[in-house]
């Protein structure tokens, strides 16, 4: 088993109140579902908000600096041939908006894991399980990228991102690797705004992961 990062920076654009019942919280629920469903119009708006943030030198700028290649995080189950891959749709929309050099779909889930969103906390997949159930594949790059951004639709605790980083480090040694998720979950209470670009940290540990914010 590889060494997993004990602290991983990540960037996110939106907040998603998982259990909130307030007006904005319910809107965040609808927004998250649109993204997971691959709503092309909505994902294009997400990319546009990222572009605006970068253009004004906002908090997301360091994440996408240097025209990185964008690597979509695999879904929780193997992909049906030709099937919807929301993270890849997000990557394509970001590239269309002028963010990142190109999409590099080099990570493939070969065995299903439990969805973090629907599992009790103690049954959510660990970084180790994410690592074991994903492999590196796809085309060989003609040129070595200077930077990669691992892109996911939603970050809950961060186990997926932490578990996938070693695959990218092994496949692209020495390359600067960053993490971006469109939505970060807010597990308790309501939120006042959906749009809230942040740079945060995922802290790894032998017992549990902790994400802040």
């Amino acid at each position: 088993m590889p060494q997993f990062p004990s602290e991983l920076p990540y960037w996110a654009l939106l907040r998603y109140a998982v259990r909130g019942q307030g007006d904005v919280s319910r809107k965040s629920n609808a927004a998250c579902k649109k993204i997971k469903r691959g709503d092309s119009g909505y994902i294009a708006r997400v990319a546009e908000r990222v572009r605006e943030n970068i253009a004004m030198g906002g908090v997301l700028s360091p994440c996408f600096a240097g025209r990185p290649f964008l690597v979509p995080a695999p879904r929780s189950a193997p992909l049906v041939k030709g099937g919807l891959w929301p993270a890849a749709e997000i990557c394509r929309a970001l590239v269309s908006a002028g963010i990142g050099a190109e999409v590099l779909p080099c990570l493939e889930r070969w065995k299903r894991v439990t969805k973090a969103a629907t599992a009790p906390a103690q049954e959510r997949p660990t970084p180790e399980l994410h690592y074991e159930t994903v492999r590196v594949g796809g085309r060989v790059l003609a040129s070595h990228p200077d930077a990669l951004v691992l892109v996911d639709d939603v970050v809950t605790r961060g186990a997926t991102l932490v578990g996938l980083i070693p695959h990218l480090e092994e496949a692209f040694p020495g390359v600067d690797i960053r993490c971006f998720a469109v939505c970060r979950t807010v597990s308790e209470g309501d939120i006042a705004e959906i749009l809230d670009p942040v740079e945060g940290r995922i802290h790894g540990g032998p017992e549990r992961l902790r994400r802040a914010p």
Partner: protein, 228 residues
């Protein structure tokens, strides 16, 4: 009868949705059933067991209680149980036909088709006058998966069209659930195949999970313009 494209009815489609989307749909009844409430397809065997029919009815009642529009294919067995239970419980139902609107299969369901067309919604991708062909039914299953936010397979033999709908639901990134009793049937290999690609098991414990996964519709402020 009126016609509409899938984009007219569902809004902009992504490339995965467009791949198998029919160019035009023929509809009769309440178009608003595609605009209010989440839609769940309840599908399964034509030659269903008594337990399968009972499970289809139980699930349909739960869906209706939560304001979900029940979608099915007007076939005998599970489909008929889903439609008739939704109607009997005061819910809404959509029949997605493998025939044109001016034909019925099976013929026994002509009265049910008429009632759904008058009070609910029937949908077909086949032009009136088109002959009934066996190959049109799995094509219809793809369209049903597209029109539905989630699909539940209640009971199905190895070659059932419900299974092809399950694969299409997974391809589209829609939620797919398989009844627990079917998953536990060791004589069937298809449930494990679909579960390996992301299908979920539906039980009393996971019904809320299915309901939570459905999109929020009916309140325009939630769906139309999410302000961020």
């Amino acid at each position: 009868m009126f016609t509409a494209t899938p984009t007219d009815l569902l809004g902009s489609l992504n490339a995965v949705e467009l791949k198998h989307a029919p160019p035009v749909l023929y509809l009769e009844g309440r178009r608003d059933l595609l605009e209010v409430g989440a839609r769940v397809a309840v599908v399964g065997s034509r030659k269903a067991s008594e337990m399968g029919l009972a499970r289809a009815r139980k699930l349909t009642i739960k869906l209706v209680e939560h304001g979900v529009v029940v979608v099915s294919g007007l076939a005998a067995g599970i489909d008929t149980a889903a439609h008739t239970t939704a109607i009997a419980r005061g819910g809404a139902t959509i029949a997605v036909l493998g025939t044109p609107l001016d034909r019925t299969y099976p013929a026994d369901n002509a009265g049910l088709q008429r009632k759904i067309g008058e009070e609910h919604l029937i949908v077909s991708q086949f032009c009136p006058g088109t002959a009934i062909r066996p190959q049109n039914f799995p094509i219809r299953n793809r369209t049903m998966a597209l029109l539905s936010d989630a699909t539940v397979i209640v009971e199905a033999a190895e070659k059932s069209g419900a299974i092809s709908q399950g694969w299409e639901a997974l391809r589209l990134g829609r939620e797919l659930y398989i009844m627990q009793a079917v998953v536990l049937d060791k004589s069937l290999s298809w449930p494990a195949d679909l579960i390996g690609y992301g299908a979920q098991v539906l039980s009393d414990q996971t019904l809320d999970q299915l309901l939570d996964s459905l999109p929020l519709r009916g309140a325009p402020m939630l769906d139309a313009a999410i302000p961020f």
